[in-house]
Point group: C2
Chain length 341, copies 2
DNA sequence: TTGTAGGCGTTATCAA
DNA sequence: TTGATAACGCCTACAA
């Protein structure tokens, strides 16, 4: 039998009004009464029924996040970190996190958003994987449901968002490579034209320009995300009249292929060939040779998104609604001459 | 301004009772009325307010899952797949998933469980990472809150659980190795004595016995989960008077070290040395050489746990409350003679 | 087949 | 400083 506010009131022979206000920290209740109420509530194990509270207060103290559930994601470690971050920061602000999953951009996704909005299931949403002309942006804006998003779509709405600035970071990395004597730098990307890839590629171009290095389009290869794809790309690069001595690779699985190709050609990583990867499936620092990598601070991003969303929900005015986060640059042996293999 | 059941009733000049029952599929409402109600509800975009419904029905149609948030997990792809699976199957049963995260076994974890129970926030829980003598088992049993769990603790309570049977699978794998001519098989494990590791190790021992192979304790090494750990372990094995020609390795990161050590010694993988890994950080099928691996069907496990939990919540009697799932054995080039390197 | 009315557990308004 | 009372939106006896 669940314990309600009535039980606490009866237990102390006072009214439920007083109990409610004592626990909510109102000032118009005497300190002695408050203590007795708090004490009794603890003894009886009373916590306000969430549904009743939601109904009365007209808010849920819950935020929603819908996982993109394309097959390729299901083992992407990004999401474990991301959800952990969302849940932690939400809990920190006394919010709960409601999670569902749906294929990107399909009907089901739309239904879930609409259901949660119409049912008043959540107070706001965190979005990621925003598409160009994303209907969610328009829908939530129209319905006046607060949200924050990782990366932006090509719209003019004004909403809080977090942007990971790969470009600067990658261009700095190019500086580093050049400083280590690696001046012929290749870029292995993917066929995706997500903003995130564009950004990385821009950083590459920017870095070349800043170092007055010529741009050579034969050094840019689009590969798939497999190890074989990386292997093939690396082989192709090796066959060039002037092969590169550094490779920036989109992820660590193709990088495994690059390593294999380097091995075939008896190239020493970090000596004859430098290698850089973007945040991939595994922790590149636990591999030998450790790979220099550019990582998103996933949990920090999630924290920030939640903080922005909560501010939005509470109507707190934010000075900065477009936050920019720098990726983390981790230097490993793969770009430093004189390091271990 | 949210649309409520009253708006729909007013719109059609009928009572809210009729609206409620028409939408809930009661039989005592005329078909014409029902159609009109459904039509009007769609037009107005009406969906029942979730809080009100929860309050009245005394259930939430929500299940809870608390992520273990030790630092080492945050990038573990197990959890993305697991949560996706939970969310999908919950949605399939018209349930939502509430997620929080807490360090394993701490006060915060306890508070969240208690809060969700006392607040009547969820109808039940999915547990994983159960410890021996896990307080959650006793607490939830006492409070009569339904739950299902991945793996069991050493208790005698009767609750639905899923067990992944590594032992049989690993022993079959040993058969396979022997069939391919790899008869001197080493086992690189970790220092963890989780049930899951015990299980794998048991399978190894069982496989040896079944194939009348002698057990040699110098072939069993406890390593950490880094690539260097795997490298060291492999080196140590190579220095034995009779080194192994097959290695079963706890995860794929140390396996990268094993590959490196094999390379140093000019051993060809799949020819001179067979290699098997357990589900690790990345998809071993996307690497070259593809590694033979033993994987948990993570999403399937999650689906099953949710189905079991929902049956428990609804009081549907389950025939099988202790489900057993077989891991997935994927054969790659690393255990087959004559394959590509 | 439909409508009336009470109550789920809280919070908020108002009066004492 | 406290207490009675009216919602919040929905479901469901029970009555018509």
């Amino acid at each position: 039998m669940p314990v309600t506010i009535r039980d606490v009131a009866r237990h102390l022979s006072i009214s439920i009004t007083t109990v409610s206000r004592a626990l909510d920290g109102y000032s118009d209740v005497s300190e002695t009464t408050r203590q007795r109420v708090i004490q009794a509530a603890r003894e009886l194990g009373y916590l306000p029924n969430r549904a009743a509270r939601q109904l009365r207060r007209k808010r849920t103290d819950t935020i929603g996040y819908i996982l993109p559930s394309g097959a390729f994601n299901s083992s992407d470690p990004f999401f474990s970190g991301f959800i952990t971050g969302l849940a932690d920061e939400a809990a920190h602000g006394n919010y709960d996190l409601l999670v569902s999953s749906a294929p990107i951009g399909g009907d089901i996704e739309q239904q879930i958003y609409q259901r949660w909005v119409c049912e008043k299931r959540v107070d706001g949403f965190v979005l990621n994987h925003v598409r160009q002309n994303d209907w969610r942006i328009n829908y939530l804006t129209d319905e006046q449901v607060p949200f924050s998003s990782l990366e932006r779509s090509a719209d003019t709405h004004d909403y809080p968002s977090v942007h990971v600035e790969y470009s600067t970071c990658v261009s700095r990395l190019v500086n580093h490579l050049v400083g280590q004597g690696f001046k012929r730098i290749a870029f292995i990307g993917t066929t995706d034209d997500l903003t995130i890839h564009t950004d990385r590629y821009q950083g590459y171009r920017l870095g070349l320009t800043m170092n007055r290095l010529p741009f050579d389009e034969t050094l840019v290869i689009q590969s798939d995300l497999s190890s074989t794809g990386g292997y093939r790309a690396a082989k192709k690069l090796q066959l060039l009249p002037k092969p590169p001595n550094a490779i920036i690779c989109v992820s660590d699985i193709p990088a495994a292929g690059v390593l294999r190709a380097a091995d075939d050609a008896h190239l020493r990583i970090g000596e004859d060939l430098a290698l850089v990867v973007f945040d991939g499936v595994q922790d590149s620092q636990r591999l030998q040779p450790t790979l220099t990598s550019v990582n998103q601070p996933v949990e920090e991003i999630a924290h920030l998104l939640v903080r922005m969303l909560l501010a939005e929900i509470k109507g707190t005015s934010l000075v900065e609604r477009q936050a920019v986060i720098q990726p983390i640059l981790r230097f490993g042996h793969s770009t430093s001459k004189g390091g271990p293999k």
